[in-house]
């Protein structure tokens, strides 16, 4: 094989000084004939040039290029930045942020730059289909042809179908690529082959906020547009570290601050976002909901409730049977207590036509008279009401809400969350007085076992103060088009082969399901867009209990990830730059973008779509599936054309193709729930959630994290083990890139000076971190940014980055939460783990 031309190789043979002296700084490439230069390489063998091996001739002001391709970088960082790739001889020379209709969204970051220049051209790219020849995990593979690969997959899948049924073939896709079809790829593949699809939203640990939106508003996620913060008088963030996790959107926070907004950040860590705040409130991890309940106690006590809003737009006037917790009904209608007539009167649910169907916001604004809550509807008191032929004691749900808050005095909340009661009062008062206030909640709160509780409490706080659906206010998590478009994919799109369907099993339980082979055998697992082995829970169980049950593991990847090392077959997939076409949504705004191909596929990489096509051909079903269509045609006809929400289906596809970016047809500026109609059964914000009575969560509440640092377990393992993102990487995708390693060289464990001193640890010491589930070793960084009793291991590092190759994933639990399962699916809670640390 041809020796790969890497930067190191070039530097060792011809020094830069020789380049400069021989040719001048402006004509380097041409002077070095024995080095592979762009254009000299051949596709399909290993001789692909490293674009960084050569200096650029910048004399014309820009790197030499023969074309500029507009594509979209979208590695699950939530940004989806438009990128201009400067390409010469089919090699990316450099990238810049692409022009954007609104320049505020023209952006890029170190991760996107490093990805384009160092991951696309990485020596660790999966170059060919690779079949395992050694033991699983040893990383010994042999190159095979695509024909052989498709034959092998066909043989394995068909064999499983015959022996165990089609559900024994399973797919698990993750979010390594934000293209719509990539994100739905495993659903589509599982539907094609009647296979099992493991859902991904719980196991990725991003679901908890949705678990609060779903029962109360019947939506997945929402937010006002980022620009909306300009105009807020205050911004309160619970567990949001946008400066690192949404670094491409943080500038909107700065815009708001410069326009006068006061920024408050609640976080156990002095995060980079907290560092920019006007007020940082440290809190005990996993207890934000208790603090918010204390705030609500103060708001109710001081008359901060917007009773008109509560009556008109929530279900809090509805009467509830105090014995059962059931919302009383008269036929299909709810009942409210009319104080003028002193009797219960019906309020009909708002008909479907008069409320939106998420993610659409369109509806007929008429409000049928039967649906209007009377102005004299009681919010307080207890009333005897006839229902179903018997008399029951009923209270308006608001009365129950007030009663539920009675124990949550600021002092009581303070005892739980360790925020001084005065600060809880001050923040509650600020929320009411410094309005409009943008309430925001994010993943820092979400990654505890009780992670849905803070958002649930914030929705309740925003609802009783009338702040839902209001500009510069609202209760915000994740907006943009990303989830909206995924939530309105049509069955036509998701079922490529008519008459065939997958079974969906919860991804949070995939280890248990595979290990137990229940409820059905799972013999083949195919992962796509998922760098597993770097963040997930129970790594020891994955390796020891689940993987041995699998007869065949397929990993579609760009890079040899830790998960790919365990595969029986690794398939090379294209990077964004090599994809011929894709439709890419974003969390950053209400736009849709398209990728145009920047360079030809490297080595033998194929797109996921091409892989599906190849396999369907082997099965002899290609022509009966929509896989037969090209990516662009599928995007036009199915992704956008048949999207269930008119906001997407009405996008002019040709204009989108031409411009690369188009706004979905949502109102501008976009204010979530501005219409004040909700796709709940009642059509109102169901602050009182009858569906959660059985788990005691009909109203906002609080309970401790699973591994609370006040639990008995804490006497043995006293430290809460967080694993937050860095500003330098998105999960595991970027940590191996040389430029990223230059700014973040090695993993480190953030530890408070007090905790470090108590264990005789200093910065640079290697520590052993352990609990009953496992252990790993890492160098300590003593830092005052972290609350005593907490640790933070930045996530994304690979096993090989730690001493002994042991990863912190061995420490992490995956315990189901029945309240979350009742709504949708448990959210993986990677911060909710207690550990102890000792000097290694």
């Amino acid at each position: 094989m041809t020796e790969r031309c890497s930067a190191a190789h070039v530097h060792s043979t011809v020094s830069r000084r020789q380049f400069v002296k021989a040719a001048g700084a402006t004509a380097v490439a041409a002077s070095v004939s024995h080095v592979l230069v762009p254009g000299a390489r051949a596709r399909g063998d290993e001789a692909v040039a490293d674009p960084l091996a050569e200096r650029l001739d910048l004399s014309a002001g820009q790197a030499p290029y023969d074309r500029v391709a507009r594509t979209v970088c979208a590695p699950n960082c939530v940004g989806s930045c438009g990128i201009n790739a400067y390409v010469k001889d089919d090699v990316i020379q450099k990238v810049e942020p692409a022009e954007y209709p609104d320049p505020a969204h023209r952006r890029i970051c170190l991760r996107g730059i490093s990805n384009a220049m160092q991951r696309v051209y990485s020596p660790d790219r999966v170059k060919y289909p690779m079949r395992r020849v050694g033991e699983r995990g040893d990383g010994e593979f042999e190159r095979i042809s695509w024909d052989e690969a498709f034959d092998l997959i066909h043989e394995k899948m068909q064999g499983n179908m015959d022996a165990y049924g089609p559900a024994s073939n399973a797919f698990l896709g993750m979010t390594g690529n934000y293209g719509v079809t990539q994100q739905k790829y495993c659903t589509m593949m599982a539907n094609t082959f009647d296979a099992t699809e493991f859902s991904n939203f719980g196991i990725m640990g991003d679901l908890a906020m949705n678990l609060a939106y779903l029962p109360t508003m019947n939506i997945m996620q929402e937010a006002n547009e980022w620009e909306d913060m300009v105009g807020s008088k205050s911004i309160i963030m619970f567990g949001c570290n946008y400066a690192e996790t949404n670094m491409q959107d943080m500038h909107f926070v700065f815009d708001a601050q410069e326009a006068g907004a006061k920024l408050v950040v609640i976080d156990p860590r002095f995060s980079r976002t907290a560092a920019k705040a006007d007020w940082w409130i440290p809190i005990r991890p996993g207890t934000d909901a208790a603090m918010i309940l204390g705030m609500m106690h103060r708001v109710v006590e001081t008359g901060g409730v917007d009773e008109a809003y509560v009556r008109d737009n929530t279900n809090l006037a509805f009467l509830v049977d105090v014995d059962t917790g059931a919302v009383l009904r008269d036929g299909d209608s709810y009942l409210v207590w009319d104080e003028s007539s002193e009797k219960a009167v019906p309020v009909a649910p708002i008909p479907d036509a008069n409320k939106p169907a998420y993610p659409s916001v369109a509806f007929d604004p008429e409000m049928p008279a039967a649906c209007v809550v009377p102005a004299m509807a009681a919010l307080r008191g207890a009333h005897e009401v006839e229902a179903d032929g018997k008399t029951v004691t009923a209270k308006p749900a608001y009365q129950l809400l007030v009663e539920s808050l009675e124990p949550w005095t600021p002092e009581a909340a303070s005892e739980v969350c360790e925020v001084p009661a005065d600060d809880i009062v001050r923040l509650a008062d600020l929320y009411v007085s410094e309005a409009p206030c943008s309430l925001r909640c994010s993943q820092g709160t979400n990654r505890y076992w009780n992670g849905h509780l803070p958002m649930r409490a914030l929705i309740q706080l925003a609802a009783i103060t009338g702040n839902i659906g209001k500009p510069h206010a609202n209760v915000n998590w994740a907006g943009g088009t990303l989830f909206k478009i995924l939530c309105c994919c049509s069955p036509d799109m998701l079922v490529p082969r008519a008459g065939h369907a997958c079974q969906t099993l919860p991804g949070t339980q995939w280890v248990d399901i595979v290990a137990s082979q229940q409820p059905n055998p799972v013999k083949l697992l195919w992962t796509v867009g998922y760098g597993w082995g770097t963040q997930g829970p129970e790594w020891n169980r994955v390796v020891e209990e689940a993987l041995p049950q699998l007869d065949f593991i397929i990993v579609s990847e760009q890079i040899m990830t830790p998960g790919a090392m365990y595969a029986d077959l690794v398939l090379p997939v294209t990077s964004y730059y090599e994809e011929p076409f894709e439709i890419v949504p974003t969390w950053g705004n209400m736009d849709i973008q398209v990728r145009h191909q920047a360079i030809s596929p490297l080595w033998e990489a194929k797109t996921d779509r091409e892989i599906a096509q190849g396999l369907c051909e082997r099965f002899g079903i290609l022509e009966e599936t929509t896989w037969r269509l090209g990516a662009e045609e599928f995007g036009r006809e199915y992704v956008l054309g048949r999207a269930l929400a008119p906001e997407f289906s009405s996008i002019d596809f040709d204009e989108l193709l031409e411009k690369g970016v188009s706004r979905a047809n949502y109102p501008q500026p976009y204010v979530a729930n501005e219409g004040q109609r909700f796709s709940t059964a009642s059509g109102r914000v169901e602050v009182y959630t009858e569906s959660q009575v059985s788990v005691g969560e009909q109203l906002a509440t609080y309970y401790e994290p699973l591994e609370s640092n006040r639990s008995e377990l804490a006497s043995q393992y006293p430290l809460t083990f967080m694993n937050c993102r860095t500003v330098y990487t998105t999960h595991s995708q970027h940590v191996q890139l040389p430029w990223i390693r230059e700014v973040a060289p090695e993993p480190w464990l953030e530890m408070s000076p007090e905790d470090a001193q108590a264990r005789g640890l200093r910065t640079g010491d290697v520590a052993r971190v352990f609990n009953d589930r496992g252990w790993y070793k890492v160098a300590v960084l003593v830092t005052p940014e972290i609350k005593q009793g907490c640790l933070n291991q930045r996530q994304g590092w690979w096993p090989k980055d730690f001493p002994d190759g042991n990863h912190y994933g061995t420490l992490l639990q995956m315990v189901l939460n029945p309240a979350q399962d009742l709504v949708y699916e448990t959210n993986y809670a990677p911060y909710d783990n207690l550990v102890e640390v000792e000097k290694a």
Binding site: L52, L110, F254
Partner: protein
Amino acid sequence: MRYGFAINVHRCVGCRTCTVACKMEFRLPGGVQRMRVLNDAGETTYDVPVGTYPDLAFHWRPVPCQHCDEPPCTQVCPVGATYKRDDGIVAVDEVACVGCGACVAACPYGARQMDPEAAVVQKCSLCAHRLDAGIDTTMCQLTCPNRAITVGDLDDPASEIARLLTTYDAELYEADAGTGPRAYYFDSSPRKAI
């Protein structure tokens, strides 16, 4: 005509995108940075805040060449390879540079580094190649996710940089060095009382 930087430290979160974008543009070898972002310890990695929990502060300072009015680097260069242009940019002629390192030692800002592979000095050129070609942004300015960096003509009262410097109280970094640095640092949103 006098180019300079206005750097908004409130908007800097220490992400080092400027560092990396610059490395891409100039193909800098590992470890060599024309644009460094210094943390509270004066380092480019492992950022730790100053203070005691919960009274803490994080500061980041992007440090390009300060393009001084009285650059000491030009005076010590034995071959005239480093020089000040009429537009204020302190430039390096890489062909003339003999890699002696005298300018590295002379710079009070640590803004110059030896390129061990090319054996020439590396420093911020203020993307003169772009500015000269009529592209009005430097790579660090173009790529900064938080719009912390502004480059422009300090002598032009209509320029964005001039507007920023009249709107905000800007400071020079280590002005005591007496070299007339032309990178101004300001905080667009000092902590508000609550």
